[in-house]
């Protein structure tokens, strides 16, 4: 990396709490320009929390999140507003606005952030709908779409401003294998065609191995492995292998603690 161009995403020693509970225990991560970084982990690993911090939706206890060279928790609201125009987010459930048609949903960022005329915005929205293979569906309401179509529409809305950073939360969760692999291909195509830096949060191994340049494995609020697909596959750590081979972790038995939990005196 050239020194004058910082990594688009830099996280340093991110510590976060949910109430009193410690969720992330000092996570540091760099995502390089134009790469697809997959953040993997089981339920409760802290990956969703991590994503919310990357998006600036939560405030960390300590640590720094820098997007495109700017500390998102330190910059003013106007700078944050400008920064957010350069990032797109596809949420897990799509988060399409149910009172607007698919086309209106996709056009919303353009409407709010640009002064383009209606016709231009429609053309731009249709362009993105072609990219995600949803052409011709702009008049449907979100409730009329299938699960796969909702994820596609959410992706189209996320990329309508041609962002430099794209975040996808579980893009293929809950979809059948064919649809899910077509979404994976779509993400690869987006990176190749538009040169975006993409962060994907998922627990689907197959999809992670297919799209990732690098994988970051989170477990219990810590990064336990970080590397290319092959490095992760061959990772020596037992916790990583457990996750990859879908083994449940052996629980160390503590008779006293077990008894305390049962009696509710823990």
């Amino acid at each position: 990396m050239s020194p004058d161009r910082p990594n688009p995403i830099e996280v340093r020693d991110l510590v976060t709490h949910y109430g009193d509970r410690l969720i992330l225990k000092g996570v540091s991560l760099d995502v390089r320009e134009g790469e697809i970084m997959v953040i993997m982990g089981g339920s409760g690993s802290g990956k969703s929390t991590f994503l919310n911090h990357l998006l600036g939706l939560l405030r960390p206890t300590s640590g720094v999140v820098r997007l495109l060279g700017q500390d998102i928790n330190a910059i003013g609201p106007l700078d944050l507003f400008d920064l957010r125009k350069k990032m797109g987010v596809a949420f897990q459930g799509g988060a399409l606005f149910s009172s607007m048609s698919v086309g209106e949903n996709i056009m919303l960022p353009l409407r709010e952030h640009t002064n383009l005329d209606e016709k231009t915005m429609q053309i731009m929205a249709r362009l993105k709908m072609e990219v995600v293979e949803l052409a011709g569906f702009e008049h449907l309401m979100p409730a009329e779409l299938s699960g796969g179509m909702i994820k596609r529409a959410a992706l189209a809305r996320a990329i309508v401003m041609d962002p430099r950073l794209l975040f996808c939360d579980e893009p293929s969760a809950g979809l059948d294998p064919v649809v899910s692999s077509s979404i994976d291909e779509l993400i690869l195509r987006l990176r190749d065609a538009m040169g975006m830096t993409i962060v994907v949060v998922t627990h689907e191994l197959e999809s992670a191995f297919k799209i990732a340049d690098r994988i970051c494995v989170l477990d219990k609020g810590e990064i336990i492995a970080l590397g290319s697909v092959d490095e992760i596959r061959a990772h020596p750590s037992e916790r990583v292998q457990n996750l990859l081979n879908r083994r449940t972790e052996d629980v160390t038995l503590d008779a006293d603690a077990y008894l305390r939990r049962l009696t509710g005196e823990g």
């Binding site: 998006l55 507003f81 400008d82 990032m87 459930g93 149910s98 009172s99 960022p109």
Partner: protein, 265 residues
């Protein structure tokens, strides 16, 4: 040992929660004013079409039911008024009572309660659902301030439409009462109208309308505070919807009393 600290703790927590909600409502109001005034300078203008949408939903679509209820209330007041004045043989003086109680009290109150039930709950349900579906998060990461985008249009529409509906309810309720009075007391509608106007001062009208503007603000803020604090999925949305109606109506009635106490005596 265990009962009383528990009770104290519960009361304390509930009080703290209540105060926090009032504070949240107040900050929402401040933030709404901020975006309304400075939105354009901050490239986050409040859009007129969004306000019209809300005004249509809150105001125009409520017209039929407001008309029916206001007319009914008017007739009811006329019946009760005549009944209560009969022992004094002063039935013809009923117009004063009707005019004042409709314009100062019943029209704003009934309209407020109706809008709370119709639109306050809808607002809470809509925001609650959006919250659960991450639509509010989606707005924030798109660089769209949710207060500017969702709350300000609703607040403005309420502030315009609730007083407008109240004015309409004034008219319909007085007309309803007039129709009954003219039939019952063989007083012509023209005489009735004249006597109504005689007993009403501008102050009475502004009293009712300013109350309705306060109700409008209360309904919006209660709806938004409840909608934003939703947790626990669809069941949670149902809970906050009910809660927002109960809170809004309670707030309306209590505020009404305080307002009357402060202004009328």
């Amino acid at each position: 040992m265990s009962a009383s600290p528990n009770l104290l703790e519960r009361v304390g927590r509930a009080t703290a929660r209540g105060i926090a909600e009032i504070g949240f409502g107040a900050s929402l109001l401040g933030e709404s004013l901020f975006w309304l005034v400075l939105g354009r300078a901050r490239r986050q203008p409040v859009r007129l079409p969004a306000i019209f949408d809300q005004a249509m939903e809150i105001g125009i679509r409520a017209l039929p039911i407001v008309t029916v209820l206001a007319g009914t209330i008017g007739v009811m007041l006329a019946i009760q008024g005549i009944y209560s004045l009969r022992p004094f043989g002063a039935e013809s003086r009923v117009t004063t009572g009707i005019a004042l109680s409709v314009v100062r009290e019943f029209a704003p109150l009934i309209t407020g309660i109706l809008v709370a039930g119709r639109s306050g709950s809808a607002l809470a349900a809509r925001l609650g659902t959006m919250h659960i579906n991450q639509e509010v998060d989606a707005l924030r990461v798109m660089g769209i301030n949710p207060v500017r985008f969702l709350v300000v249009p609703a607040l403005l529409a309420m502030l315009v439409m609730v007083p407008a509906l109240t004015l309409w309810a004034d008219f319909v309720a007085l007309l309803g009462a007039g129709l009954y009075v003219s039939g019952e007391l063989s007083m012509s509608l023209a005489v009735y109208a004249e006597r109504c106007l005689e007993s009403l001062k501008l102050n009475d009208l502004t009293h009712g309308l300013s109350k309705s503007a306060i109700f409008a603000m209360l309904i919006t803020l209660v709806g938004v505070v409840n909608g934003a604090s939703v947790s626990g999925g669809a069941e949670g949305v149902g809970r906050v919807t009910t809660r927002s109606v109960v809170h809004a109506i309670s707030a309306i009635v209590v505020t009404d009393m305080i307002f009357v106490f402060a202004v009328t005596r």
